[in-house]
């Protein structure tokens, strides 16, 4: 398994571009995907201009990017999630991990970005799990990291990343990608269904940004013992 490469589907959007930039800065190989390959190439060029001409970033259509990495990060607006998953499904294969970053904001239907829609599956991540090919596992992560902070390199990323997935092994596979972003901390978010809460937290943080006139509200979980934190993800976690 190539653990140094990541595909960012919808990588020309705010969150996707920010994550791609940070991973490129960390020396990882990043495949930026977009419906429009020309826009993906432009985004890759933009990242090289900021992260250094030698960083291994390339742009392509979404299916081509999704076919070329073990970890595939989905960063598209909620209204485009299912359609995008259908478009990359034929390119995916068993064993890959899809990291869903989708948040079902009410803004998708003309409402507020501070509210979420109800999703039949329970969360956008569980909806993703219902729309990937058999054998592809889904994790949910990176919802609460400010796109603004990601894209402004002078900003520290003062935020925990809560990673949810059915299997602890899936969460563990995402962990190095959290830790590749300076100051981000991995927190074991438990089962995929917990994405219902983690996704909604994004709407709450967007409201904080409005009320406090900032762009970088984030979250830290306090009170976690360091050693236990590093050990988390074992059998006990399976039950939650």
């Amino acid at each position: 398994m190539d653990t140094n490469t990541i595909a960012v589907i919808g990588g020309t959007g705010d969150q996707g571009l920010g994550l791609a930039l940070r991973w490129a800065m960390a020396g990882r190989r990043v495949l930026v995907g977009s419906r429009d390959p020309a826009r993906a190439a432009a985004a890759a060029e933009n990242i090289r201009a900021r992260a250094g001409a030698s960083v291994p970033v390339s742009g392509s259509g979404n299916p081509e990017a999704a076919a070329s990495a073990e970890l595939v990060v989905l960063t598209v607006p909620f209204m485009a999630q299912i359609e995008t998953l259908k478009s990359i499904a034929p390119a995916m294969r068993p064993g890959q991990i899809l990291v869903d970053v989708t948040v079902p904001l009410e803004a998708a239907v003309g409402g507020a970005p501070t509210r979420t829609l109800g999703v039949w599956a329970g969360s956008a991540a569980e909806q993703a799990a219902a729309n990937v090919p058999a054998g592809v596992e889904v994790a949910a992560a990176f919802h609460n990291v400010s796109a603004y902070a990601l894209r402004h390199l002078e900003h520290a990323i003062d935020c925990d990343v809560l990673v949810c997935a059915e299997r602890p092994e899936t969460r563990a596979a995402v962990r190095p990608w959290v830790e590749a972003i300076r100051d981000c901390r991995y927190v074991d978010g438990g089962r995929l269904e917990n994405a219902r809460i983690v996704e909604a937290l994004t709407a709450l943080l967007i409201g904080m940004n409005v009320r406090y006139k900032t762009h970088a509200a984030g979250i830290r979980i306090t009170g976690l013992p360091k050693r236990a934190r590093d050990d988390a993800g074992g059998q006990r976690a399976e039950k939650q």
Copy 2:
């Protein structure tokens, strides 16, 4: 308005007793309410034994406690929320603020404390608002503060308290009670509907406690500018 007195309905439970203890430690007048006045009196005695014999803490039935303070904190299990509100409604009057701490955990119906139930009103706090007398305003707060940490005085309370209410003035009235608890920080949580997310966060933190084998998982919001934080709660907040 007597701003130095608070009633804690269901104050013999873990969360209520913990809050009452911390407020008593801060020199506030605390009225502990319980269905059973004898249990309330015992809880008050317990608090005096820990916080000092001279602290002004008393115990009584819930309606009597609810009648005697401007701020009435409701800390009962979800299954007892409506019944308790009905029992104190005749004792309440316009102008009081009910601070709801209820979390609709699935445990209320024999399920997991790491999941929430759907509430028709949207949240337990909005359900409370539908069950208080006219003129009583509802705020939602203190859900995410660990009862364990509250009751163990050697523990710092490393946790923000997100306060939600329709009117900024209502949130502002709750703020001093947050700041009376050492190390707690007030964060403007916006409108009451945001309690849907803040309540659910409690279930997520309970899962963290299980996975990380601790009792005191909490939350901090990062990235809030200090000055703007202190100014928050103005007109803009009304929209969120």
